[in-house]
């Protein structure tokens, strides 16, 4: 379990030191006024693609000795577009997506407990409505 805490710590440290936890950086990104955030997300994707291709070509096994497989996501449109849109509204408004929320909580902004409870409420409401909204 401790290795996951270490991974989380590195995640928190990285996003904090590169200012990706900043409301102002998210605002700047949605105004296309700086390359910084696009550089972070873009370079993560480029390196990520290379690593995933490497996993596939070498047929890498995970720590338990099973072949690493990445499940294909369901090929629909509605849930990704509508759900993504709603997520985007909240991301820009609060200036923090789920990982920065935990990081800012640790940085001492205790008001993010309210954000956490609100996000859990949102997830719960989604669970209740799931069968009645288009996917």
């Amino acid at each position: 379990m401790s290795r996951y805490i270490l991974i989380g710590m590195l995640l928190g440290f990285t996003l904090y030191k590169s200012e990706a936890v900043s409301w102002f950086r998210i605002y700047e990104m949605f105004h296309f006024q700086n390359f910084h955030m696009f550089g972070i997300i873009g370079s993560a994707i480029v390196v990520g693609i290379l690593l995933v291709q490497m996993i596939k070509m070498m047929e890498m096994k995970n720590v338990e000795g099973k072949k690493i497989e990445i499940r294909d996501k369901n090929k629909t449109i509605y849930r990704y577009l509508i759900g993504g849109f709603i997520f985007g509204l909240g991301w820009a408004l609060a200036g923090a997506c789920p990982a920065p929320m935990f990081i800012l909580l640790g940085a001492g902004y205790t008001v993010f407990i309210v954000y956490l409870l609100a996000a859990m409420t949102g997830t719960f409401v989604y669970g209740m409505l799931r069968k009645r909204i288009p996917h």
Binding site: L10, G48, C97, F124
Partner: protein, 201 residues
């Protein structure tokens, strides 16, 4: 005494990290999690926490073995520690500043923020209990949190699950989700912010 080179190292990592350090590191973290048998996705924790609080008794969406998501809760807990360390022990020379562009500073001032270049704080003043009890603060923190929690589960992932993990695996649904993220973000920033912010001070 702490060796000199360690102090130097601390000084170096305390400075703001450029995108080309941060981005590849995120990909490496995703890779480490895949190696450990898991997929990177932080927003799943909200569902795990709902399940841990007994939501499974009300709705089957939350009826699953949430203990198997313990690893993900540990990643979130680690992120809390990481944020604590970075914010308190690795402060850059000029403080915790968001080094946004001059164009952004100008736009922020038009919204009524009153900021100067290289002096924009990393976090805005409304991340505070005092502002939570105003309608704008409540809208930003609680409203934003609700939309993020609802939207992330509806879309089946957030920035880590779709933008990083999903696009790295060349998943078309993740591309649609990321387009959705940006449409929502642009709608909020360009159309809603001018209605919320001019009177905040």
């Amino acid at each position: 005494m702490v060796p000199e080179f360690l102090l130097h190292l601390k000084e170096i990592i305390s400075q703001p990290w450029p995108w080309y350090v941060s981005g590849p590191l995120l990909a490496i973290l995703m890779f480490l999690l895949l190696y450990l048998g898991h997929e990177f996705g932080i927003s799943e924790n909200f569902r795990i926490m709902c399940a841990a609080d007994g939501a499974g008794e009300i709705n089957e969406f939350f009826k699953f073995d949430w203990v198997s998501g313990g690893w993900n809760l540990m990643v979130a807990l680690g992120a809390v520690f990481g944020g604590y360390l970075a914010a308190h022990y690795f402060i850059p020379v000029d403080g915790n500043i968001a080094h946004v562009s001059q164009a952004t500073v100008n736009s922020l001032n038009e919204l009524g923020f009153n900021v100067e270049k290289d002096k924009v704080p990393l976090v805005p003043y409304f991340y505070d209990w005092q502002y939570l009890f105003t309608w704008r603060g409540l809208l930003i923190i609680a409203g934003g949190g609700f939309l993020v929690g609802f939207g992330a589960r509806y879309a089946g992932g957030c920035t880590s699950g779709h933008a990083i993990s999903g696009l790295s695996a060349l998943q078309l649904p993740s591309l649609i989700a990321v387009i959705g993220f940006f449409m929502g973000g642009l709608f909020m920033t360009w159309l809603i912010f001018p209605l919320i912010f001019p009177w905040i001070h």
